[in-house]
Symmetry: C2
Subunit: 471 residues, 2 copies
Amino acid sequence: MKEILDVIIVGAGSAGLAALREVKKRTQRFVIINDGPWGTVCARVGCMPSKALIEAANAFYRRTTFEEFGICGASHLSVSIPDVLQRVRRLRDDFVASTLKTTEELGERAISGRARLLAPDRLEVNGQELQARNIIIATGSRPIVPSSWRGLEERLLTTDTLFEQETLPARMAVVGMGSIGVEMAQALSRLGIRVAAFSSNQTVAGLTDPQVNAVATELLEREFPMYLGDKADLNAVSEGVQVNAGSTKIVVDCVLAALGRRPNIDNLGLETLGVTLDQRGMPSVNPGTMQVADLPVFMVGDANDQVALLHEAADEGHIAGLNATQSIPVCFNRRAPLAIVFSDPGIAVVGNHFQPLDSAKIRVGEVRFDRQGRARTGQRNKGIMRLYAEAESGRLLGAEMCAPAGEHMAHLLALAIDRSLTVQDMLRLPFYHPVLEEGLRTALRDLAAQLPAGSESDLATCSAFNSEALD
Amino acid sequence: MKEILDVIIVGAGSAGLAALREVKKRTQRFVIINDGPWGTVCARVGCMPSKALIEAANAFYRRTTFEEFGICGASHLSVSIPDVLQRVRRLRDDFVASTLKTTEELGERAISGRARLLAPDRLEVNGQELQARNIIIATGSRPIVPSSWRGLEERLLTTDTLFEQETLPARMAVVGMGSIGVEMAQALSRLGIRVAAFSSNQTVAGLTDPQVNAVATELLEREFPMYLGDKADLNAVSEGVQVNAGSTKIVVDCVLAALGRRPNIDNLGLETLGVTLDQRGMPSVNPGTMQVADLPVFMVGDANDQVALLHEAADEGHIAGLNATQSIPVCFNRRAPLAIVFSDPGIAVVGNHFQPLDSAKIRVGEVRFDRQGRARTGQRNKGIMRLYAEAESGRLLGAEMCAPAGEHMAHLLALAIDRSLTVQDMLRLPFYHPVLEEGLRTALRDLAAQLPAGSESDLATCSAFNSEALD
């Protein structure tokens, strides 16, 4: 008689491995199946190698502040792109190795192959049929590349191939100004590559607040030209690739496509689940349980096309791992939304985006960093932060920013929003001096002035008890 | 008949100006008196010029990472100390100018001169007697210099004179390893000056956790020698200054004294208040009201020798300004303690220090940054963070750290401690990937493992209401 497993996990990326961690604690009757290279997108071609590239680029770019600081000789600095990329791969290999440990020790329970669903409790891999009480689909995603661009061959890069290059050419186009496009365009430009950036959107990096978008766009355009609002067409020409967008025609040596990622659900057999699929071929997935309809099937990480961020993928894997090993799926409250783009200044959206908040029901507090004291001492005085609070209650609802130390202030605001804190609550915080967070305080005070009058002091008066304690 | 003022503020530093802001809103019958240069210690000789120096030093020091990043030519970089100091003064002048605006527009209500109390409601300045219903003493502090060192003349610097130098010599000793000593010793060393550091304490930068102190000390000692545990004696010799401490004898060109600051209360006439003074000559000051005993006299900022930090001085001035303009003084809850040293990695203490917490009643969570992913991509992977939580409740009590982005994580933890959050509450926070805050999460998880078992997930399960909302 054929063994019926408790859980099959399809995909060993960040979501699949998070599911595995929970499943392993509760049953040994599981397998994990992976197609293609083992190791997560994050470690192989995503978060980690991109951050290694960005850090090198920012270190090199910092030379533009040297003369003002009193440091001489910046003109003698140069960067070796092959050396930068070699370091990126050296670090990447180490990060990948640490993700591989978990699956290597599983022996036969880790299967290399492409799985195809046959029913809600059955799938086929390598010509073999497997049955399980629960299936977790964590097949990830891949970069979107329009089929008409495929003919460009090695002149078209994605994040799958960028970090594999021995070196990079003098002229590059980056198409798509979402998070990855912005990060890579700025880093490549800071490494001395002549970058031209294109996007069919007028907004960059997922921003929805026109004022934050305007500042972010202006700051990025100081470093490299951006052509926004027109769809880019690519054509191979003898000298490289011609990019046409609206009236712009630019020839570059190669193009980085950063058009987003597509879930890996083709030929996965989702139609065998017997539930309605939308026009993308995607079933409905409950974000609180990760369950597909009422089936013992869970869909997590980039594969479900909900929020393609590592920390969300890990949470989704965790939820599915728990729910696939208990009789009744439990619904979890997801965390406060947080999205960070590792540009300089850092772009971040916390909690609610500005749009579609109802402008009649919110108040907006703003700070610009041009004159902020600490930022000026470090020559990082550029950027903007806008905070959104509920007009009636003063509760913080969200923030968008392009600001120095943005990634850190985004975490501070995420905690505030997660705890439903008000503007007055936040003004209770000690803001040290001189720190960039004092800029955040300026935005909070700007908000406080627009809200129904609170007390005349940030500092709450003592209760009788504390008052005595102080005497 | 002589006018009786509502308020006299003695001292126009950060505390005095904060008091002025509140007083001005409520009465025009006030004067503010200042001895010596107008402009705050913070802007003139403290926070701001020191940060400008540190930023230049860190920018220059970053060259030590260049080869590993793939950047060539670092050996051609040099730093011009005169240029660094000129920029420091240029920025400083601008910061000072902005603090002067407030008092310049006061006309005759801003008096230059040294005040001396005659009674709780009277003082003398420039031979003239003034009377007021309330007096706010905000006379600030000055660097401590042992009288036996005065003979060293221009070979002895303090932060009052350091930033005024045209250039700096090749060899310097820094005596005192509190916050200012650590910041300046590291910055001067990073600017290429051969620094030797001395302290009679075994701990640096106000740390009390032996493990954090050990890491901080070890990291600083990689950059310059520190001689801890012996009192330093200074003697003028023909080549400069000989520093003797225990068995160490080192000759330097000049010495920066960083032994802390002494409140400016000498000859202030505090004895005329008719209250008991302690052996330092200091009356007792209520930290909730800033009131001296039950007198209409308030003592704020560095002058009261409580917490000599700008944000505390500003709060104290604010409280005194409110209390000096209403009939009954109100007691305020002070903010969560926060102290930051702007070294690299950053040193910070949030909430309770490790000592004197009762080790039987707390649990300690720890993370080291040597292997932290994001820190490695930026070559900032050194340091430690230790968190203290109440064993019974899991409530966060405090933290000490020497960690990359320490100043930012300190603010995140200050918010958590101010809101009485538990370790589990903090694990609800979205931690983006890859960020240094994931190191903080590691320390939180280390703590969670030592606390009474919580739920099996950081993610709270949905309430019925939310569960429906997600469907």
